[in-house]
Symmetry: none
Subunit: 212 residues, 4 copies
């Protein structure tokens, strides 16, 4: 293991520590994760950890920064080109649900929600880079569909938030509370289908425009 110091730049080592710490924080939660176990998993000493991060809190923040950066990297494959509205939204719903139900993403959500009280900036930072980007992108999609007359005109942001919330109505919700194991693709497809159907019933362009 003497290799690592010689061959790795400080930055690379830092990244390696963050990657390991991330896994452990997610597995055990902030409180239960110990600097000892992280150091052991990294393969270095605790003192080395402290050479890179001044405290457990700082390491945790770095891990969260890393996560949220990566969250931002998630790209929903463009659904703009699909002319069939129902197909386009179904595809979006499934993609979103699949993403946020992935075990590692679920763990992050639980961790962040659970620690939100003690790490006030954490929830915001994380949300901004995760859910918010999805909602904003979705909002753009909604606007376009409304402009094209494929959806009843309305505030596109609110419509996007509502659609997202409808997608989370069942399996996601139960998963968050630890009531079910990992959902199957069929479970997700079912929820996505119902969310889309209900949404389209409400946003049928044949109806009168939504009164603000």
């Amino acid at each position: 293991m003497g290799v690592k110091a010689a061959n790795c730049s400080r930055d690379l080592r830092r990244k390696a520590i963050i990657a390991v710490a991330r896994r452990i924080f997610l597995e055990e939660g902030y409180g239960a994760a110990s600097m000892s176990s992280i150091a052991a998993a990294v393969g270095g000493s605790k003192a080395t950890l402290y050479a890179y991060f001044r405290s457990k809190t700082e390491l945790f923040s770095a891990v969260m920064d890393d996560m949220t950066e990566e969250m931002g990297a998630d790209k929903i494959l463009r659904a703009d080109d699909e002319p069939d509205t129902r197909l386009a939204l179904t595809w979006v719903a499934q993609t979103l649900l699949t993403l946020i139900c992935r075990p590692e993403v679920m763990d992050i959500q639980r961790l962040v929600i659970g620690e939100a009280g003690r790490f006030p900036e954490l929830g915001e930072a994380f949300f901004n880079r995760g859910p918010r980007t999805k909602i904003e992108w979705l909002s753009g999609l909604m606007r376009k569909m409304m402009e094209d007359g494929r959806l009843r005109p309305d505030d596109p942001l609110r419509a996007a938030e509502m659609f997202f919330s409808m997608c989370r109505y069942r399996v996601y919700h139960y998963l968050l509370w630890g009531l079910s194991q990992q959902p199957t693709p069929a479970d997700i497809a079912e929820d996505a289908a119902r969310a889309v159907r209900t949404f389209l019933d409400a946003y049928d362009p044949g109806l009168a425009p939504v009164r603000s």
Copy 2:
């Protein structure tokens, strides 16, 4: 505080401990809350705590039982008698949203979600006494409205889950992530209104029955 030993029965003392422990668990989380601090807050010794609860886990469970019992005690004022569907649902939506956004309830939710990974039975126990009862009651309401022709026929349970999820689409969601402070009644009324409007657009009895 000399009062406590002399005047209080065992049961009262137990309740007092639970009340204090509840506050501390909510403030600090399960892991960070210490038996010492709870004992100090109660005004007794740690040994006394252990005379009432065999372990920290057991105390935590007792606190959860207490919370969920109280949850179960929440009664949604009957909306059955309101002939106007929109008014009835709006009333339900506001009541529900107000309840689950109350700071102490919010804290519980965050605590339970955060520990759900490590306390698998916790999430279930809590959910069963809290959200599930609401959903089931709501499901009954939906069935009746569908039977009365006030809502388009559909699986009433799924409709209830969907309605509940629509209610949580904005302020609740942001609150859970720690993105906003306590919402005003106006905030809640706004979300309730939009949820009801969207739901009624989708469940307008004039539309064809939902295809399963």
Copy 3:
């Protein structure tokens, strides 16, 4: 005298406590036995224990007194009438070995030896009522046999101590160190036989008297 009934009742309860405490001390050792578990086993409260015994130490002493008293009650069936020396000694050896290898007696011995350092008077009190009485009785038997010319003349006390030690040469010794489980009667008979044989070889009255 007016207090007779009261004293009697109190005395009975005291005896009951001692009996229970004795079992627990033997099972768990002095240090590991707790007043709580003793009180629970007795069926009363800890405070009641303290009404009868001022401290754990005093309770332990009382238990020891009780044990040693009972030890003194052990009577070795008289071997005086057996004219055959070998048979008489074999009978004695087997009786002694069987007694001191009994699990409950073994436990006492281990307990007393183990705590001898911390309870200085304990070893003596116990020894005086247990082993010493056996040795003294055995010494009387030896004297008589020597006077009868059935054993070579010698200091009868030393002869008795030696005989007793020879009996303990194998199974008892291993049992004390926890190296073997409860010996069978055959094991004991074998050791007794060899001890007697060796003793009689050394104390054959045909040999010259032992030089002091």
Copy 4:
């Protein structure tokens, strides 16, 4: 390099801890000795203790290993060359008795016997490295003497066990029960002399071979 010094230092510290722990365990017994008091006596913190030994049990085992190793290091000065059987055995008896009556060895024996019930493997580990080696060596001596016609033929192992038991017939026995203080060399010489005399009377080669 740095490794050597570090390892050496660590090893030394470990040895120092064991030495201190050994003293305290012997003085107070396993149960009564506390990690805090050991740490204080070592001059370090409890956490340091736990850096070297994962638990109290493990520390205790290490102490026992250390003791038994040292026990194994005890060499009985060779008695093979002494042509006079009585002198040779007397020398052996005195050496053995002196060894097992040494206060520190006595303390170990009491500790091990006392804990044998709760630490089943302890008695065996200790016995194998202590008493057993002595008995086996003694058994070899017996065999040689029997082959040379200096002792009456018999099972040499049983003869050795018997001889050892005869040596313990008085002062050792009383010491074990805490009935006497440290014996003088004269006390030991007296017991050794009588043990040898009785043994030789029984194992006089002029007698017929022992019947198995």
